[in-house]
Amino acid sequence: MSEVIVIENLTKYYDKFLALENLNLRVPVNENIGLLGPNGAGKSTTLKIMCGLIRASSGRVFIDGIDVAVKPEQALSKIGAIVETAEFYNFLTPNEILSYLGRLRDMRGQQLKSRIKEVIKLVGLERWIDVKIEKFSRGMKQRLALAQTLLHDPPILILDEPGLGLDPRGLVEFRQIIEAAGKQKTIFFASHQLVEVAQICRQIAIIDHGRLVFYSSVEELEKKYESLEKAYLELTGGVA
């Protein structure tokens, strides 16, 4: 099976602080991988390098065979991403912001209009499509963020805590959408929510202090450590 995301010896320093140390990960096509780790473990740093938002100190990331640092636009055309908490231009509406982002991704006319309606319906924002984003709650912005990741139907989704700010119903709906998308896409999913990750992902990568401490299937992890929670606690600083 070909690998759609390849992370090779990824290291990142913020001045003298080592955020990532020689991270290696290979994600097969159509695999859903959950990236777990405590605060400051290096999850967001990994995702930001994958999205070309920050530069690695050393090492490389390939998206569908394209080096992100060398050809970022080509690599970004393959992904839909939510990084950190989603923020939008408050004075635009979801329709306008999705139209802007869609057009930047070479979508046009009727195809774009109908796709916007489709994704807006999918995330449950139909009533808000022409309302300025300044009126939106955090959860609604997260819904819009998910809509923009799915807009161009990318083969890879990179999601950083996508459920942040959602109410319980929203979380369930989100999980269902991502689960459905994951059947045809590769999902790289960073989260603190162990249950959420276990429901969506078949593979788990746990990082701690910038180092990969575990990478295998959920079944294997549960077999070895009894539960995901026990594994997480043990691998990230000992059982509480």
């Binding site: 938002l53 970004l76 930047l104 991704r105």
Partner: protein, 267 residues
């Protein structure tokens, strides 16, 4: 899709952002207000308008000059805002070069400022024609200088915005530079009889002095500029040199802002 097409899209949506924001209308209102103040207060306080149409034209440039300063408010958050408010996490994860985004933002800001300046000059032209029955040809030179000044202000603001942590910081730094630091240096250089054509404040003055120099401009004011009232002689800015100076600010500021924005990381 070619980058030029993406640039067109960025310009369109960035301009839409300017239209949606209140600051465009605030600057437009202030431009109108200052021009109305000159048109109302002059005859009210002096009994009539100046005899010379050029004096009145020079006095009315305060409106578009203010609009030019308004450029700072459009450009201040153009780059810094993407980092500060974290909208960059959505925008920068799209397959579009950072340089395209910065150029698009620059052009959109410039279009907004050009629209404000032209609006100001239309008001001036209508006012002068109504009062004097003529519009001086020097107004076109003044308009050209105002447009160039607007571009140089946007470039300087973009430069501060490209490395500033926050939009407010970039806006305040630029305003302090062009409204406080620059005029102080300008005054010192004037008093010590040194060249000052390379300063933005001198460039800004040229928008009004192009009508006939400081002497003519001061005719409209209630004191003697060249006489005992001033401790030094006011030399008119050389239009050629100020044009060169503004062009340098515009090009260098813009290129530096593109370079810095391109290197900046969204951590």
């Amino acid at each position: 899709m070619i980058e030029l097409e993406k640039l067109r899209i960025v310009i369109g949506y960035e301009f839409l952002k300017h239209i949606r924001r209140k600051r465009l209308y605030v600057v437009l209102g202030l431009t109108l207000l200052t021009e109305a103040a000159v048109l109302i207060l002059l005859p009210a306080l002096q009994g009539s308008y100046p005899d010379n149409v050029l004096v009145m034209a020079a006095l009315l440039t305060i409106g578009p000059s203010l609009a030019t300063i308004g450029a700072v408010f459009f450009a201040g958050d153009a780059i810094a805002g993407e980092f500060e408010s974290k909208t960059g996490f959505i925008l920068f994860t799209n397959p579009v070069k950072r340089i395209t985004l910065v150029i698009g933002k620059y052009i959109a800001s410039y279009i907004a400022v050009i629209a404000l300046i032209i609006f100001g000059y239309i008001v001036i032209a209508i006012s002068l024609f109504s009062i004097y029955g003529t519009v001086p040809t020097e107004m076109y030179k003044s308009l050209g200088l105002a447009l160039l000044y607007g571009g140089s202000i946007i470039s300087v603001t973009f430069l501060f915005s490209s490395f500033s942590k926050g939009a407010m910081g970039a806006t305040v730094i630029t305003l302090v530079l062009i409204m406080v630091i620059d005029p102080i240096i300008d005054a010192v250089l004037l008093m010590t009889n040194n060249p000052h054509w390379f300063l933005l404040s001198t460039a800004g003055d040229s928008i009004a002095t192009v009508y006939g120099g400081y002497e003519l401009f001061m005719e409209g004011l209630p004191f003697d500029s060249m006489g005992d009232g001033f401790p030094f002689e006011l030399k008119d800015p050389d239009i050629g040199l100020t044009t060169l100076s503004m062009s340098i600010y515009m090009v260098v500021g813009f290129i530096a802002s593109v370079f810095i924005s391109n290197r900046r990381q969204l951590a």
